[in-house]
Symmetry: none
Subunit: 129 residues, 2 copies
C-alpha cells in the first residue's frame, strides 16, 4: 500500500533529507543497485536501505529484483507533481516589482520603528499595486 493520503507531503518529506536528495540525483540518469547507492554514503547500509524505502513509499523510485541485487529506478511523476504545485507561485505578473517593494518596505518599517518607538503606522501600500 502507499501509506499516506497526502502524496505531496510524502514527496516533500522525502526530499527534506539530503541523503535522499542525493540518491535521487544519483538515479537521475541510470538505475543503481542498493549496494552501490549505499557505498556512496558514510552512513550504514541499513540506514540507506530505509532511505530507499521512504523514497519507494513516496513513489519517487521503483525497485526491481535483479539476481541477488535490487535495482532502484527513478520515477519522476512525484517530482513533476510537486513542481506543478510550486508552479502556482509563479509570478502573476508584477512579481519582481513586488519583491523590490517588499525590500523597501522592510527597510522603511525598520527605520520607522527605530526612529519613532510609538505605534507603527506602516499602512502597507505594497498590496495595493
Amino acid at each position: 500500500m502507499d501509506g499516506s493520503l497526502d502524496e505531496l507531503s510524502d514527496v516533500a518529506g522525502a526530499l527534506a533529507d539530503p541523503v535522499r536528495r542525493e540518491i535521487l540525483a544519483m538515479l537521475r540518469h541510470t538505475p543503481l543497485a542498493a549496494g552501490e547507492i549505499a557505498r556512496a554514503f558514510p552512513v550504514s547500509r541499513p540506514a540507506v536501505s530505509r532511505h530507499l524505502r521512504v523514497l519507494r513509499e513516496s513513489g519517487l523510485v521503483r525497485d526491481e529484483p535483479a539476481g541477488r541485487q535490487r535495482l532502484y529506478t527513478l520515477v519522476p511523476s512525484g517530482i513533476t507533481r510537486l513542481a506543478a504545485w510550486l508552479g502556482q507561485f509563479d509570478a502573476p505578473p508584477g512579481w519582481e516589482q513586488r519583491l523590490d517593494a517588499l525590500g523597501t518596505e522592510v527597510r522603511r518599517a525598520r527605520r520607522d520603528r527605530t526612529a519613532a518607538p510609538r505605534a507603527v503606522d506602516h499602512d502597507s501600500e505594497e498590496r495595493s499595486a
Copy 2:
C-alpha cells in the same frame, strides 16, 4: 539566525506539512495577519503560530509587526530554489527509451560490477556542505 545549514531541506521540510502548504497558498496573493491564518484551520492558534515559525525559519515567509497584529508575507525565493533543484530531473530527451533499455542496462551493470567492484562514479552536483 537561520538555523539549518541545508536550505533545501528546510524548504522541503516546511512543505511536507499540508497546513503549511495551505498557509503558503493563502499568502500567494496577499499578506495576512497571524489570526486570520489561524482562523482558517481547525487546529489551535499556537499550533498555527508554530507552523508560521517553521515557515519563517525556512525563509518562506517574512513577518512584520502591524499594530497589535503580525502580518505574514510570502517570500518566494525558497520556492524558486527548490523548483530549480527539481528542474534537474526534467527529461533529458530520451527518457522513455531509457526505461525500455532498463533490462539491458541491468545486465550490463551486473557484468561491470563483477569485473570491477568499486564505488559509484556518478556526477554528484549537490555539495554536501
